[in-house]
């Protein structure tokens, strides 16, 4: 964690975001901010609205009301394209890979490299893909195969590579380790730390308390579409967070742990 993180302008400020489907308020008046070099965990039950909130930031969903500021300026994010132009990259829980295409084609999907004549530059895309994929997983082979034939871990690596290859400033990771084995999970952990060192802001959606406490600087907890808590990680215990997730409330005798230590 960087002590000076809070002094800079926030990378992202989501202000009073609302999203409803018919009568259901999936996201209800939620505000969130993210600073450079900070990892913020976004927690909650299934259906608590956290994925919805992340999809709004990544342009996959348009909110009914609320504003989003990126680097202090109001950003109008209408499509995934807009979000990417602002440096917001997302690793989706479903990975969002086109199964019949190979790894380089997926890596550059929507942002294909082209030759002077506007043709696809497959050899350059392959070379770049080899470079970035080998960095994440030295054992990565069969780049020419369709990604449907790759293992879960390899598919995850392709999805991660796609998010960090381009000029990423804000990274949204939706359950990035759900499909991974222990060694790959460790790899993702060290990658998150490395990206944080580079000043990238990361929003980490996770169910894994261990990961959250290991990696995050702050946590935001959502319950039934509302934000029920936003705490520095050293102020809360796993039990406090679980209470927020399940009850939507802190234990009644709760006080910030760091302040307790001072008293």
């Amino acid at each position: 964690m960087k002590p000076d993180a809070q002094s800079a302008t926030p990378l992202v400020q989501m202000d009073q975001i609302e999203k409803h489907f018919g009568g259901i308020r999936a996201v209800n008046d939620v505000s969130l901010d993210l600073y450079p070099g900070e990892v913020v965990g976004v927690l909650g039950h299934n259906g608590a609205g956290k994925s919805c909130l992340m999809r709004i930031l990544s342009g996959a969903m348009i909110p009914n009301s609320g504003t989003i500021k990126v680097n202090g300026e109001v950003a109008d994010i209408q499509s995934p394209h807009d979000a990417r132009d602002l440096g917001i990259e997302t690793i989706y829980q479903t990975l969002a890979l086109a199964d019949h295409l190979n790894a380089p084609a997926n890596l550059f999907l929507g942002r294909e490299l082209k030759t002077r004549f506007g043709n696809l530059d497959d050899s350059r895309m392959m070379a770049e893909a080899v470079r970035v994929l080998k960095r994440l997983n030295p054992n990565f082979k069969n780049l020419n195969d369709p990604v449907s034939s790759l293992s879960g871990g390899q598919r995850q690596v392709v999805a991660i590579a796609r998010a960090i290859y381009f000029d990423v400033k804000i990274l949204i990771m939706d359950e990035p380790t759900a499909a991974l084995g222990p060694s790959e999970t460790a790899m993702v952990g060290s990658l998150i730390r490395q990206l944080r060192e580079e000043g990238i802001g990361i929003l980490l959606v996770s169910h894994d308390m261990h990961d959250v406490f290991e990696l995050c600087d702050r946590v935001i907890v959502m319950n039934k579409g509302r934000k029920v808590g936003s705490h520095r990680i050293e102020d809360v215990t796993k039990d406090d967070v679980l209470s927020l997730i399940i009850k939507g409330d802190l234990p009644h005798d709760w006080a910030p742990r760091s302040q307790k230590a001072v008293q």
Partner: protein, 340 residues
């Protein structure tokens, strides 16, 4: 045959077949077998003349098949191509009757086909109607318009130049003899065949080397993923349907030109031949899979079957049965291959 891939031991034999090339190989083999079998049945089958005839007959299905392949790769289907073919020919014919020269009139016909394709794409992407229903509607609409415009009567006396595209040929060598009929040394490569070759190469280039082609595959493979990756999914789909419509228009002009008459009720069930060609060539109706060379082989198989069975004196009804069986077998072989 299906063991080729499995048996590929890294040490002894590193030759590995991808699913796509396996399917293409088996389709090519089928084609070769058919040609071989028909050559035995009838000596006249295996001749340059008949070969060119088959190619000529294949060209219309081939043109439709190229557009159909693009649409099928996006995960859709275009049932309207047979009717759009008739409507485009009709519009060309009416334009010529109205005094437009032949070439611009044909361009108008092709544009009418593209417009039908655009309507298909618009209805599918913006009104969120499934491709099957949307193009079924267009199939009825386009046929209805063609019949209404002509009163279901053919348009003839369109001038000799109208027949050039369908009946002309390149490198035709004719030896002048004393008799009434000159001796044809080489019948020449028919213009429709040349047109098909050009369109096929252009289509394959588009799918393999251009961004729009990559996006067509991505859209059919995983539409949501493509959208999240910044692919303009709706525009990609509309592009595919417009192309399919335009190629149906082109095929219509070729067909009507061959007949030197516009027949508003031509092309019934052609969409099914086009779909069969694409499917035999390895395209998957689930989307994301298919290619032009496969579809060309598929169209050739259908063409050779029709021609060969005709020459063997098999009735048109039996031909339907055979082609139906071939379609099912082609998909079945693919299924077996994928299950492994």
């Amino acid at each position: 045959m299906a063991d080729l891939d499995r048996g590929a031991e890294p040490a002894s034999w590193t030759f590995k077949l991808s699913a796509g090339s396996f399917h293409k190989l088996s389709a090519l083999l089928t084609l070769a077998l058919l040609i071989f079998a028909f050559s035995f049945g009838n000596a006249a089958f295996f001749s340059i003349n008949n070969g060119l005839t088959v190619l000529l007959q294949t060209s219309v299905i081939g043109l439709l098949g190229i557009g159909m392949t693009m649409v099928i790769i996006t995960g859709g289907i275009d049932l309207s191509v047979g009717s759009v073919l008739a409507l485009s020919g009709t519009i060309t014919g009416l334009s010529i009757k109205a005094g437009v020269p032949v070439a611009p009139a044909m361009a108008i016909g092709v544009m009418a086909g593209a417009a039908c394709g655009f309507v298909n794409g618009f209805v599918i992407t913006k009104m969120r109607i499934t491709p099957f229903v949307a193009t079924l509607g267009m199939m009825l609409i386009a046929r209805g318009v063609a019949l209404q415009l002509t009163g279901a009567a053919p348009i003839s006396r369109l001038g000799e130049s109208f027949g050039l595209l369908g009946n002309g040929s390149l490198f035709r060598i004719v030896e002048k003899t004393g008799g009434i009929f000159p001796k044809v040394v080489f019948p020449g490569i028919p213009y429709p065949v040349i047109l098909l070759a050009i369109v096929a190469v252009a289509g394959a280039y588009l799918l393999r080397r251009r961004q729009i082609g990559r996006h067509i595959y991505a859209t059919g493979s995983n539409e949501e993923a493509a959208r999240l990756s910044g692919v303009l999914v709706d525009r990609t789909k509309i592009f595919a349907y417009v192309l399919s419509g335009a190629l149906a228009g082109l095929a219509g002009n070729v067909l009507m030109s061959r007949l030197v008459t516009v027949q508003p009720n031509e092309g019934v069930m052609y969409e099914l031949d086009a779909i069969a060609a694409a499917v035999i060539g390895g395209a998957s109706l689930m989307g994301g899979v298919g290619n032009i060379s496969g579809t060309m082989i598929g169209a050739a198989i259908i063409g050779v079957l029709r021609n060969g069975l005709n020459m063997a004196g098999v009735s048109a009804f039996i031909q339907q049965i055979v082609i139906g069986i071939i379609v099912i077998l082609a998909v079945y072989v693919d299924q077996i291959r994928n299950r492994r």
